[in-house]
Amino acid sequence: MSFFTELDVSVIAPSLPFLWTGLKFTVTLTLIAMSGGIILGTLLALARLSPFSPLAMAASWYVNLMRSIPLLMVILWFFLIIPLITGYPMGAETSAIITFTAFEAAYYSEIMRAGIQSVSRGQVFAGQAIGMTYAQTMGHIVLPQAFRNMLPVLLTQTIILFQDTSLVYAIGAKDLLKAAEIAGKNYNRPVEMYIFAAVIYFVICFSLSRLVKHLQSRIAIIR
């Protein structure tokens, strides 16, 4: 039991402001990668479903490539290679935001593709029959329904994304995990800090997954 009795939680309170800056970046990264990923992912999904085969092929290649490489390697490569190509160094935070948006787009696109296909062809016909163009039918009829049907799955993917953001630790971006590590070194209390960080991740993810459950039951009723 000495492990627990020797824990010194008093170091947590003074580190809170510092941890808060880390958490802010983690949340910002999650929100940007989510919104960017869903927008890009929706475009990729539309491209994959397009009858114009070169576009469909290109989108399909992109999605399959991203889904076949470990996220950690994409983060590292992007961070290391982009400065070599452009000649300008890129901050770890900026690099992380771009990488996550591009990577998550592949996953969100698969969700949106399933969502679009979940809307019946009759709905497309109905939109077209009142004179809507392809873009109007997609924008007003198909995508809102696809999005609504897929909302729980999109949120679940976002929970995974939120956890995965801790991988930016590898390139030194100052997220929650990195902040916990630094604070732990400061006070020479790494165990307490890592445990506290884990509790924060848990609380946020658990609340979100409860929200997903709630949404699932509501959507089932609307249908």
């Binding site: 019946s120 009759g122 709905q123 016909f125 109905a126 939109g127 077209q128 029959a129 009142i130 004179g131 809507m132 163009t133 109007q136 007003h140 009829i141 809102p144 329904q145 609504r148 609307i222 249908r223």
Partner: protein
């Protein structure tokens, strides 16, 4: 108004439509019937270009549906269509269902669209349901809203693709009543249906299809009196016998 000239369509090797031709004049009501899989629904969807065809052409009010230069969305905004499964937009209220096309396609103001929509909703007897969502209405009510939605675009003609096939028997008449009224007002209508009572009441002509071909294209009296083809006779005896 609608000219269907020798259209043919294939799904791979399978020919769904074989050299179909007919004309529907302004104000005419034409009923299309035939066994399932005979190509009726495909034929009616070719009229507003929801289905493509490989040969022949369809001319609607002087506009060629098959021509690559035709802007199909423009043409469709002038041709009303009602589907077997209603296809109301489930994420929109009844009012929004009635106004979205008017606003986004015809460019009407929200107010104008709402007035027109409510007037038509009144006409199909559903004024009190305006703020509900499609899922809260019965099938018959949904189909009447779907008819109102099509009429809200002020179409030059109306296409009905088995409008009562997905309905419970007690709801069929409320939809047919609306259609009869529409026919009596002189709307040009092409109706795929098995409701022979409706055909007897308002149709000018009846088209019978089988295996992708128009087997019989006759006036109502000729069709019900003395159908020429054996297949039409058999079909009629089957659906009229019960």
């Amino acid at each position: 108004m609608i000219e269907i000239n020798n259209i043919s369509k294939w799904y791979g090797q399978f020919q769904v439509l074989a050299d179909c031709s007919t004309r529907i004049a302004k104000g005419e009501v034409v009923v299309v019937c035939g066994p399932s899989g005979s190509g009726k629904s495909t034929l009616i969807k070719c009229v507003n270009g929801l289905e493509s065809f490989e040969q022949g052409d369809v001319i609607v009010d002087g506009t060629s549906v098959g021509s690559p230069t035709t802007i199909l969305s423009k043409l469709r905004s002038r041709v009303g269509m009602v589907f077997q499964h209603f296809e109301l937009f489930p994420h929109m209220s009844i009012t929004e269902n009635l106004t979205i096309g008017q606003i986004k396609v015809l460019g009407r103001s929200k107010d104008e669209a709402l007035q027109r929509g409510l007037k038509l909703l009144d006409r199909v007897g559903l004024r009190s349901q305006a703020e509900k969502f499609p899922g809260q209405l019965s099938g018959g009510q949904q189909q009447r809203v779907a008819i109102a939605r099509a009429l809200a675009m002020d179409p030059i003609c109306m296409l009905f693709d088995e409008p009562t096939s997905a309905l419970d028997p007690e709801m069929i008449n409320e939809v047919l009543d609306v259609m009869v009224e529409l026919a009596n007002e002189g709307m040009t209508m092409m109706v795929v249906t098995h409701e022979m009572g409706f055909a007897r009441k308002v149709a000018h002509r009846v088209i019978f299809m089988d295996h992708g071909r128009i087997v019989e294209d006759a006036t109502k009296d000729d069709f019900f009196g003395t159908p020429r083809s054996e297949r039409a006779q058999l079909f009629l005896s089957k659906i009229l016998s019960h």
